[in-house]
Amino acid sequence: MQDFYNIDSLLSEEEIAVRDSVRRFVDDNVLPIIGECYVEGRFPKEIVPGLAELGVFGANLPEEYGCAGLNNVAYGLIMQELERGDSGVRSFASVQGALVMYPIYAFGSEEQKQHYLPKMAAGEIIGCFGLTEPDFGSNPAGMITMAREQSDGSWVINGAKMWITNGSTAQVAIVWAKTNDDKDQRSIRGFIVPTNTTGFCAKDQKGKLSLRASDTSELVLEDVRVPKDALLPKSGGLKSPLMCLTQARYGISWGALGAAIACFEEASSYAKTRIMFDRPIGGFQLQQLRLAEMLTEIVKGQLLCVQLGRLKDRGEFTPQQVSLAKRNNVHIATDIAREARRLLGANGILAEYSAMRHMANLESVYTYEGTHDVHTLVLGQAVTGLNAFGA
C-alpha cells in the first residue's frame, strides 16, 4: 500500500531491504496457494524450507546461534509481511522464534542453545509451546501439569495442554509444568520435550473455523520421562513463560497490521474497479468512509509499532506497552478485515479474496496470546494501580 505517512523514512535501509525480501517471498510463495490451503484446512509445510533459507526463524536472535541477528523493527516487519500472507503462517514463525527459540536462548544452557538454535533457525527442528491447558487459558498460574524430579535427576511429566500451534508438526515441545506446590514462587519450569518421547501424544484439534492454514493441537503427557538436561535451567516461575509471550505478542502487534494491509489493499483496489450504478463503488461516500478509516488506523498502528520496536531495541519497553500495541492493532485489524469483507459485497465471502480469511483468522489472534479483554485489564491496572483480575 501507499506509504501515506512516509513511515519508510523512519526505517533504515536494511530494515526496508528485509521487509522487501520477505514481501517478495510471500507474494511468490504464500499468496498463490494460501486460499486453497485455508479451504483444505492444511498448513503449507512446503514453504518452511524457503522461510528457513530466507532466515525468518528467530531472526532477532544472535548470529552465533545461526540466526540473522536483526533488530526488533526488522523482526516486526517480517511478522507484518508473513501475516499479510496469512495469520497461520505468521503464527508458525512466531511460535518457532518467539515461543521456542527465545526460551531456549533466554533460559537454556549453552549446550541447549548450541544444540537447538542453529537447527531451529534452519527449519530442521520445528517446535511448539505448551502453556495453555484445557481449563487454564487466561489464568496460566492455575495449570495442573506437573513435573516430578526422580532420584536419578530425570523428570516425569504428567498433564495436558491445549490450543498448541504446530503441536502435531513439532519435533520438540517447550512444556511448562509445576515442579512444586504453589508456595514456591519458582515452581513453574520449562522443559524441552522431544515429541517422540514415550507417553507424549499430540492430536490435531478438528473443526476450526479460523486459522485453518495452521496446525492446532492438544498435547497429552502421560508419564513422559525426560533427562535432567531437558530442564531449561534459568526458567523459574510464571514470569518465564510470560516473558516468551511478551516476545510473541510484540510480533503479533506487527503481524496484525500485515493482515490489515492485505485487506486494505484488496478493498481499495476492488473499490476502484468494481462498477455499480455506472461508476466505481470507490466513488461513493460510504465506501470512502470505510477506506479512510482503514488507512487511518493502519497508519496509527504502524507508528505505534515502530516506536515500540525502537524502545525494545533500547531495552526500554514494558509488557504493558506491548499489551497496548497488541490490543489496539489486533482490534483495528479485525475491524478492517470485516469492513473490507463488506466492501467486497458478495465476492467478499469467497476464498478467492482474502478479506474473509483474514477476518476469521483475526478472531483467533484477538483471543490468543492474552485475550483482548485481559490486555484491557493489564492497561487498567497500569493506569489505576488496581488489579481487576479475577483473583
Partner: protein, 250 residues
C-alpha cells in the same frame, strides 16, 4: 573465476508513469526503483557459477547517482563479494558513453567473465554489453539462455525463432543474459546484514559527452473501449467488413 556483473537501477515497470514537464523524460517522483530484471538474472547466474566451481568472486558494478548503491547493496545481499559504484549525476542515454566508462573500469580488473542483462527494463537498448565487449576487444554472446563455464572456455545457448544455437567461446568474454535462465534468489536476512560489511567502492565515472539526445517521450494513447457489432452469425459479415476496411488486418 572472477566475474563482473554490470547492473542498472530502473523504475518498477508496474508503476503508473508520468512524463516530466519538458516532455522529454519520465517523471521519477514517487517511483519505486529496483535492479533491472535481466541484471538480476545475471547476478544469479554469476553466483551459481562461482558456487558450482567452489571458487571465484562476483563483483557488481553500477553507473549512476548515489541511489544506485541501493541496487548494488541488493546484489551484495544476494551474495556478491564487492561492489563498484561509478558515480554520475545521471545515467547517460547514450549507451556508448556508458560502455566507455564501464570498459575503462573493467579493463584492468582481470575478469574472466563480464555479464550484463540482455537489456535494461527502462530503455531497452541492449547495446551497452556488446559495446563494452568491443571496447575491451573481447568475444561477446548476447541473449544467453543457458551458460556453462570451465577454465578458459564458455558454452552458451541462445534461443532463436523456432530454434536454438549453442555457442562456444574462449574466456575472458562478455555475455548478456536473457530471461528464463535462473530465478534470482531472495536476499536472505543474513545476507542483508552481511552486505553492510562488504566493500562498496564509489568513484567518479569517466564519462564522455553524450552524443544522443532524447527530444520527446510520450505515453501510449489511452485505450479506447471496445465496440459490440452484434451477436451470433449475423454479425460476422459486418465484423469482416470492419476488419478489412477499418482495422485493415484482413
Amino acid at each position: 573465476m572472477k566475474i563482473a556483473v554490470c547492473i542498472k537501477r530502473v523504475p518498477d515497470m508496474e508503476s503508473r508513469f508520468r512524463i516530466s514537464g519538458d516532455g522529454k523524460v519520465v517523471d521519477e517522483t514517487g517511483l519505486k526503483f529496483d535492479m533491472s530484471d535481466f541484471d538480476g538474472y545475471a547476478v544469479e547466474v554469476a553466483l551459481q557459477i562461482t558456487e558450482k566451481l567452489g571458487q571465484g568472486e562476483v563483483v557488481v558494478v553500477s553507473l549512476g547517482p548515489d541511489a544506485v548503491q541501493e541496487a548494488l547493496r541488493k546484489a551484495l545481499s544476494m551474495g556478491a563479494a564487492r561492489a563498484i559504484h561509478l558515480k554520475a549525476d545521471q545515467v547517460p542515454r547514450d549507451g556508448f558513453a556508458v560502455a566507455r566508462a564501464l570498459a575503462a573500469e573493467l579493463e584492468s580488473g582481470g575478469f574472466d567473465l563480464i555479464m550484463f542483462g540482455k537489456h535494461a527494463m527502462d530503455t531497452m537498448s541492449g547495446v551497452v554489453g556488446p559495446m563494452t565487449a568491443e571496447l575491451l576487444g573481447l568475444p561477446n554472446v548476447s541473449a544467453v539462455s543457458k551458460l556453462d563455464v570451465e577454465q578458459g572456455k564458455g558454452t552458451a545457448r541462445r534461443e532463436l525463432e523456432g530454434a536454438a544455437e549453442i555457442v562456444e567461446f574462449p574466456l575472458p568474454a562478455v555475455v548478456s543474459i536473457d530471461e528464463g535462465i535462473a530465478r534470482p534468489r531472495y536476499p536472505s536476512l543474513k545476507g542483508i546484514m552481511a552486505a553492510k560489511k562488504k566493500p562498496l567502492e564509489s568513484k567518479p565515472a569517466q564519462l564522455d559527452p553524450t552524443r544522443l539526445e532524447v527530444t520527446k517521450t510520450e505515453l501510449p494513447p489511452d485505450r479506447q473501449g471496445g465496440r459490440i457489432i452484434g451477436e451470433g452469425a449475423a454479425a460476422v459479415p459486418e465484423l469482416v467488413r470492419l476488419l478489412q476496411t477499418e482495422a485493415k488486418v484482413l
